[in-house]
Amino acid sequence: MQLRRPALANPTAFLPAADAIIKLGAATAVMAVAFLSRDAVTPAILLAGEGIGLALTGLRARDLVRLLAPLVVVAAVIGLTNSLLVAAPAGGLEARALVGLALALRILAIAIAGVLALATTDPADLSAGLIGHLRVSPRLAVGALASLRLVPILGTEWQTIGLARRARGVDAGRNPLVAVRLWLSAVLTLLVATIRRSTRLALAMDARGFDSGVPRTLARPPRLRRSDWLLLGAAIGFALGAVAISVALGTWVFLFG
């Protein structure tokens, strides 16, 4: 198991340079509309807009495909399954297909909005944004950031623990029950290793005066520029616009309607 942070997008492109919290807000607006609209037209319009967003990520086409391909597959599978399982709608086959299509498009619109916000955001900027804009406690935001850094290290450690078991003459062979038991005991070993590592990290953070009662400053305080507000406005306007078009076409269906 290899866990690695995906390579960050080109930091000077429009979306990576935008404020982390603004991006989250913009994504939330799009996600909310995709969630609340049950028709296929609204998410289709949203997806068209997200296409523009993808062009602003600064990611290479190859990385984009790698990032999005699994999402498309998952959305398609869920859509297909639902169109088969849906309780006999009036209108037969065509209606079934439409239900599945709408669901797949909605899932995709929600997922891509999330990707647009998160794949273009440095975790440190997100943490600074949480502290700077949303007044989240630094103890929480910086603590979460620091533990995020341990994730790839734990991946390597997990691998080592697996090898160490083989070296001790222990493997599951073909017995699934033994495999589960071994997996649990490896998890326990990883837990011990994690606790030891986090204790050291906490000590190192304490040694540098973390959470010592002094009001903390930010080395790179998040600054909102005009382009950030434009981005947020555009996203909200676009999300509401998608609903408006769908209503005008007479296709819009409210989730709880």
């Binding site: 942070r5 440095d122 440190a124 090898l163 990290l201 190192a204 540098r208 005066g209 080395a219």
Partner: protein, 449 residues
């Protein structure tokens, strides 16, 4: 000042006390009074700085500059003063990259220099270092010491450093304090005061002396039967995401009666090669096979395909971190596990376990949980478990990492004894004295070779 003492004499604890980082919540007992810079240590905390042994777990941020800024942010330093201070601190440690360098792409030595920059940015009066070079390769360690030497020449700092290996640190220190096992101070004075005439007392307390390193144990002039056991052919290893292999088309034969040392800087593939030879990893290309002597009737069989219970009877493997290997809640079970897995009858398995416990001074902790042992005991236990199935070959990854002189001496004579009794021994290590004391053959790995 250099602070010495055996494992468990409380050196690291003393450092955390000096840094003002202990509190009463953790349990345990503390008595007596401590004044740092004339104040209680919790008050003087802002003027002291601590660097720990493990470089990986003291980096907080994803970019080098942000990490140096972390302490300044905590101090409440205004934003426009942070970046000049960050640049100054990075310059002071001779930082070879820009401030945006991702911290997960740094070597151990670079991470330690970054940690040093992070505390220098806070302009401390007292610098506390807890085995700062223990996990570094010799070149990385030398660079860190040179950096420290320059900083000490430029700034009026007090330095307190805990290290096992003294020789390399002597040029930097003017005073040595030796902590006695079981409490108290054994010796305190200039390096000459401490080391001249006290060799025996220091050895008794498990403390390194500058000239101790590299004493070779007596070995037979003519080695016992030399047979090849593991044959590696055309091995290539390339880490994921790396653009070139760490080693390519490597041929190596491991023989009984011989001690082979794998050396090279961090990231040169020592551990990977050890794991390939130990049948733990599948090679990306090339083959590692066993000889007839290793696996009678299965000459030429591919080692990584062996089931674990066959592997454990033929190759003993010791990992750098003993805790990764522990599988049971009791030392006795830990020792008997290998023989049990290999199908040895119960009375015989227990007998072997108790013999090993006797030989490696683990009898006193027979019923203890392996995770609660001291560092030296954990190391001895992990080696003992690898020997329990009487394998033909023993492979060790950094067997002396963080060990005091007593465990080190034991390890040296144990490994020499293994080779002399007809085992093959392979060790991947940074420890130059260990290589000098034991290696019959040294394989130097370097980037791209």
């Amino acid at each position: 000042m250099l602070l010495l003492g055996a494992s468990g004499s409380g050196k690291s604890t003393l450092l955390t006390h000096l840094a003002g980082l202990t509190d009463d919540r953790g349990g345990g007992e503390a008595e007596g009074e401590l004044r740092v810079l004339g104040q209680p240590p919790q008050v003087s905390r802002a003027r002291t700085a601590l660097v720990l042994q493990d470089p990986e777990s003291q980096i907080v941020m994803a970019r080098a500059g942000d990490d140096v800024a972390f302490g300044l942010e905590n101090r409440g330093v205004p934003t426009d003063e942070i970046w000049p201070a960050v640049r100054g601190a990075l310059d002071a440690v001779g930082w070879p990259y820009g401030p945006n360098r991702p911290t997960d792409q740094l070597s151990g030595g670079e991470q330690q220099r970054l940690a040093l920059a992070g505390i220098l940015a806070l302009d401390p009066d007292l610098l506390l270092l807890d085995e700062p070079t223990a996990s570094l390769d010799p070149d990385g360690a030398a660079l860190l010491r040179a950096t420290l030497e320059r900083i000490l020449a430029e700034r009026p700092l007090t330095l307190v450093v805990v290290e096992h290996r003294v020789a390399e640190w002597l040029p930097l220190v003017t005073r040595i304090v030796v902590m006695a096992e079981g409490g108290g101070i054994l010796l305190d004075g200039t390096p000459a005061d401490v080391f001249v005439g006290h060799d025996e007392a220091l050895a008794r307390h498990g403390i390194w002396t500058p000239d101790h390193a590299g004493r070779r144990p007596a070995r037979p002039v003519v080695p016992p039967a030399v047979e090849s056991v593991i044959v590696a052919e055309q091995l290539t290893a390339q880490p994921p995401l790396a653009d070139r292999p760490v080693f390519a088309r490597l041929d190596l034969t491991i023989r009984t009666g011989e001690i082979t040392a794998l050396v090279g800087p961090n990231g040169s593939g020592k551990s990977t090669l050890a794991r390939l030879l130990g049948g733990l990893l599948r090679p990306q290309s090339g083959e590692v096979t066993a000889s007839e002597a290793m696996a009678p009737g299965h000459a030429g069989s591919v080692i990584w395909r062996w089931p674990a219970r066959a592997l454990v009877t033929r190759i003993g493997f010791v990992f750098q971190d003993p805790e990764h290997q522990f599988l049971t809640g009791r030392v006795a079970d830990e020792l008997a596990l290998g023989p049990r897995r290999a199908g040895v009858a119960e009375p015989e398995a227990v007998k072997r376990a108790s013999e090993l416990a006797e030989r490696l001074r683990l009898g006193g902790v027979w019923d203890a949980n392996p995770f609660t042992l001291s560092g030296g005991e954990k190391r001895r236990l992990s080696v003992a478990t690898a020997l329990a199935t009487a394998p033909r070959a023993v492979i060790l990854d950094e067997p002396t990492f963080g060990q005091d002189r007593r465990t080190w001496d034991e390890m040296v004579s144990l490994l020499a004894g293994l080779a002399d009794s007809g085992r093959a021994v392979v060790m991947a290590t940074h420890d130059r004295p260990l290589v000098e004391a034991l290696a019959d053959r040294t394989l130097r790995l370097g980037a791209g070779t």
